[in-house]
């Protein structure tokens, strides 16, 4: 780990940039933590869902009579119980369906005393279906004669986006070199280790308490309410510890209203929890897309334009998936200096599973295309890709065509740092020269980069966060914050910031952030925003508290507040650090003096960013950041297996806050990207998922994880807390095209449709090497084996 910059020295020891443990880690490591999946409430019933198990059908008849009569069954619900309770961005979804539009459509739900009884009850429900011809690709769905999936959306048209900038015809004319490819990023899914789970309970005033894994507890109320026909104000959201989220819990999915509907019907708490197979089939995916991208440049290697024509497989319903063009167009227009841009995207309803948000949201798909085209253009220009990247890299102060203002831009530094650390240019030449030499195993090195929002993304009316900070008579601090913890480590960051500002030990800080009736509003944990937004909110609240304390202490000590500071549990004199009075004594004196005061401050932080807007021309994030990945691989040209030997990462993190948490986010994010690149693949045939298990849906395992060389570039973001930027999505975004470029360097083949599975790679190499039409393997084998 290289520390590329350090804070200017101060007399005060700073926690910023240190390694701080997650406060919840000991309980998690001992099995003491009670995850939502572990929770049992008195009188709790188990809810189970009957899935359609077919992609497109009319429901002719449902008979729940036998299920209702089964002893131990308390409620059976079907589509007719919820007919008008539509939810979703475009109100195209409903908790229980009146028509089947995808394999996992929820047809009926049961609440019973045990899971066994609930499962038996599902078996007793008789459903007669009339299967309908299906739509299994966006191209098919866009055809004039395609079967209609929703009556309300003619032509199966879902969301569409467009952004244009500059004179495309002129730019094309000025382009001496153009690459033109179709990329097909595929369906993958989150695979949270804790499966989806919700527990719902109504009180007798009609108020719903829902324990759920949501990442956005406040807007969640607004989204859940229409699915139940209740007011959002009558929902209390409690977020117990969760087994991962990664974007999958950024929307309401049908199991949540189903739990609530069953709870309302039975008057008892109801828990719905998916099995792993159900999780694979019924939880959201990453958005699949067909990206037709063209990029041009001059013979000197200066980018002239980029166009992207994107067709999105919407799946059966509209969640976050088809909204990814919001970010795709930022990358298309902002990944390197692209003067002319033409972006359009259309989502088409299909009978496939539908997509939600997933770490890297849209940018995983676009960077897969842009970063490979950068590599291809460099080869056409015939210069080192590093040089090509540097030539087109933005500098601080530049503004992209969509008005993203790159205040502190460290792309050049990221490129140079990663290239130097990995000896990129030398190795790339050496490996390319050996590409067609005899030998079964080939080495390759590939460079990729991307840009991502790093200070939130103002796609809602507010991108803010509320914070309440209080201190007790013993100088223990409680931070009540909207910031959700889903494993990413905001608990450690908030603890660190409070300890930094108030000079209290880390273990004296308590976080309350899991109850919407208690904690103030926040957009949610997404868009690499929480350290940035909640970090600022916490810091502002802590500074308000600090000012209050120092003012009071100054009066007590007859000093000036500007000359005082809080360190190591005491009020100290700034100049020499001498401890003047214990902090907890100050707090007690404040509390019990003639004019008593308690330290309890509030703050609402709204980042300085502009709303996304319908035209998509706005500075929608308070910061932007870059990362560069350089992947070194060995390819078995016969089996097609890619072994990743090493990944060098240089990322603009603004400023390191919690070094250990930062490393963990980059390592973990990169592992998700590796799975996307190499092995994860939802095999959906005619709308049916064929590999709903970890045996055949392959996550990266410990032996496959390469050594990582991490370099944190500190660009000191003016708006970020202590200079920090958001960091957690870029590691997932950049790695796949870095490997694709390395694969090309090693073998001369390019894969446009991830994952780069052994079979796909073997076939591509085989087809490149075998004489066309010969169908022979022998020459290749004889030439390369041993």
């Amino acid at each position: 780990m290289q520390e590329t910059a350090t804070a200017s020295p101060t007399v005060k020891e700073t926690l910023i940039g240190q390694r701080v443990r997650k406060p919840d880690a000991p309980d998690k490591a001992t099995g003491k933590t009670r995850y939502i999946n572990d929770m049992v409430l008195p009188q709790m019933l188990i809810g189970k869902v009957l899935f359609a198990g077919r992609p497109h059908a009319r429901i002719v008849r449902i008979d729940t009579g036998a299920a209702q009569k089964l002893p131990g069954v308390h409620a059976v619900l079907t589509g007719k119980d919820v007919a008008e309770l539509r939810f979703g961005f475009v109100r195209d979804n409903v908790a229980l369906k009146d028509k089947v539009r995808c394999e996992h459509d929820e047809i009926a739900a049961v609440a019973a005393e045990t899971e066994e009884i609930a499962c038996r009850a599902l078996e007793l429900i008789e459903v007669e279906y009339e299967d309908l011809p299906g739509v299994f690709s966006p191209e098919a769905g866009a055809r004039e004669d395609a079967p209609q999936i929703h009556d309300r959306f003619p032509g199966n048209k879902s969301l569409a986006f467009e952004f244009r900038h500059g004179d495309l015809a002129a730019a094309e004319a000025a382009s001496e070199l153009i690459v033109d490819n179709v990329f097909r990023p595929h369906h993958v899914t989150h695979c949270c280790m804790g499966t989806s789970c919700a527990i719902a309970d109504f009180d007798h005033n009609g108020k719903l308490t829902i324990w759920t894994q949501t990442q956005y507890p406040y807007n969640y109320k607004m989204d859940l309410a229409p699915a139940l026909g209740i007011h959002p104000g009558d929902i209390r959201v409690i977020q117990p510890p969760v087994g991962g989220a990664f974007g999958s819990k950024l929307d309401v999915y049908p199991y949540e209203p189903i739990a609530a509907l069953l709870a309302r019907k039975t008057g008892r708490p109801v828990k719905v929890m998916y099995s792993r197979e159900e999780e694979f089939k019924a939880s959201p995916t990453r958005q699949a897309a067909i990206i037709h991208m063209r990029t041009g440049c001059t013979r000197d290697g200066v980018l002239t334009f980029r166009t992207a024509d994107v067709l999105l497989d919407n799946g059966a319903y509209t969640s976050w998936g088809p909204t990814i063009p919001v970010i795709m167009m930022r990358t298309t227009s902002g990944h390197y200096r692209v003067p002319v841009v033409d972006f359009k995207a259309q989502a088409i309803y299909t009978n496939n599973p539908y997509a939600g948000s997933f770490r890297g949201y849209g940018n995983v798909q676009t960077t897969w295309a842009t970063a490979q085209q950068m590599d291809m253009l460099a080869e056409m220009v015939d210069i080192d890709p590093l040089e090509f990247h540097l030539k087109n890299a933005q500098r601080s102060g530049e503004v992209t065509p969509q008005r993203s203002f790159l205040r502190e831009c460290a792309l050049v530094e990221c490129l140079e740092t990663a290239a130097t650390a990995s000896d990129y240019s030398r190795k790339r030449k050496e490996y390319a020269a050996l590409r067609d030499a005899p030998g079964r195993y080939k080495k390759g090195i590939g460079l990729a980069s991307s840009i991502h929002n790093a200070g939130g993304a103002k796609i809602h009316k507010s991108d803010g966060i509320g914070t309440i900070l209080k201190m007790d008579d013993y100088a223990r601090v409680t931070v009540i914050t909207g910031a959700s913890e889903i494993g990413q480590g905001i608990d450690a960051v908030i603890t660190l910031i409070v300890a930094e500002e108030l000079g209290v030990p880390l273990e004296h800080v308590t976080l309350v952030n899991n109850d919407s009736d208690v904690a103030p509003w926040d957009v949610g944990v997404h868009a690499s925003r929480t350290t940035f937004i909640a970090g600022n909110g916490t810091r502002r609240a802590a500074r308000k508290a600090k000012a209050q304390i120092l003012n009071a202490a100054a009066k007590m000590l007859e000093e000036s507040p500007e000359d005082l500071d809080l360190r190591a549990g005491s009020v100290v004199r700034n100049t020499d650090g001498a401890a003047l009075i214990k902090l907890e004594r100050v707090l007690r004196q404040m509390h019990f003096q003639a004019e008593p005061e308690l330290v309890m401050v509030t703050d609402y932080y709204e980042p300085k960013s502009e709303p996304e807007g319908a035209a998509h021309v706005s500075d929608h994030s308070a910061a932007y950041s870059h990362a560069v990945h350089i992947a070194e691989i060995t390819v078995d040209t016969l089996t097609g297996e890619i072994k990743v030997d090493k990944v060098t990462v240089a990322q603009d993190v603004g400023r390191v806050i919690n070094r250990m948490g930062l490393e963990g986010q980059i390592e973990g994010g990169l592992a998700i990207g590796l799975g996307y690149a190499l092995s994860e693949d939802m095999r959906i045939e005619n709308g049916m998922l064929k590999n709903a298990c970890f045996r055949d849906y392959k996550l990266i395992t410990a032996p496959e994880m390469p050594p990582l060389d991490l370099h944190f570039i500190e660009s000191h973001c003016a708006e970020g807390p202590y200079g920090a930027k958001g960091i957690s999505e870029l590691p997932t975004i950049v790695i796949a095209p870095a490997i694709a470029n390395a694969l090309y360097n090693a073998t001369g083949v390019r894969i446009f449709d991830p994952p780069m599975s052994p079979e796909k790679v073997a076939r591509a190499i085989f087809e490149r090497c075998a004489p066309a039409g010969s169908g022979a393997v022998e020459p290749r084998l004889a030439g390369t084996a041993a």
Partner: protein, 292 residues
Amino acid sequence: MSETSEKISAYLAPRRLDEALQAMADGDATVFCGGTDLAPQTESGARQYQAKLLNLRRIEGLCGIDTGGGEIRIGAATTISDLRRNAPLAAIAPALVEAAEHFASEQIRNAASVGGNLCNASPAGDMSPPLLVLGAAVELACWRDRAVQVRRVPLEAFFVSPGKTVRRPEELLTAVVFERPADGFVSRFRKSGPRPALEISTVSVALGARIADGRLSGVRVALGSVAPTPLRARHVEAALEGRPLDATTIAAAVAATADDARPIDDVRASAWYRGHLVRVFVEEVLNDVRRD
């Protein structure tokens, strides 16, 4: 979840083989050892429980590896971990221990039994190809005429189709046996997949033969995941038997795989890729033997 556990009327964990066989005599027992196949298969509804659930783990003498004599004997309840850690066996049958090395995960290896892996009769079963090239046979025991009766079935005649073997419902697979390989015996195992283990093999290849003066004899080649059952590659064997192990012979053996492998397209791989991998692996193991 569509478990059929309510069909179970009795659970038995006998200590003696004859007790177990008597309990199985009516052919209405579901037997398990580690449960690593039975548990998920019953949970998913792919398999149904029968009236008796019979735990084999307590039967004395059903596990253990005897490498002392001319015949090597591996008790059916021996775990894959036991096999992996057995040094004498590694010297005698390296391909078998190599297959154990790449078998699922440590946790599964600690529970799964050799007998269970064979009885599960998966075309991808990791134990089958190396045992096939060792010329192994399985012992099937049953209770008949008030006594334990044992018959031996060569492993290559044991598998019928995916999940099906010639074992009769009242029979228990008690051991797998093979003759101690002669001097000069070499064996190899190769399995596909970038993960070292935890991989259902897309293709696996095992080779066993004597090598003397650069020629192979007594050649056995076995393939996994390229047909409904693990199988002996007779055409490949014929291309190798008695021939000098040179580039021409190897090329002929590689070409002969097309006559033995009958791969299909499924969710894990296409028929093309399976056929391709068989060729690659056959060439690889032969070149490896040739080099040594």
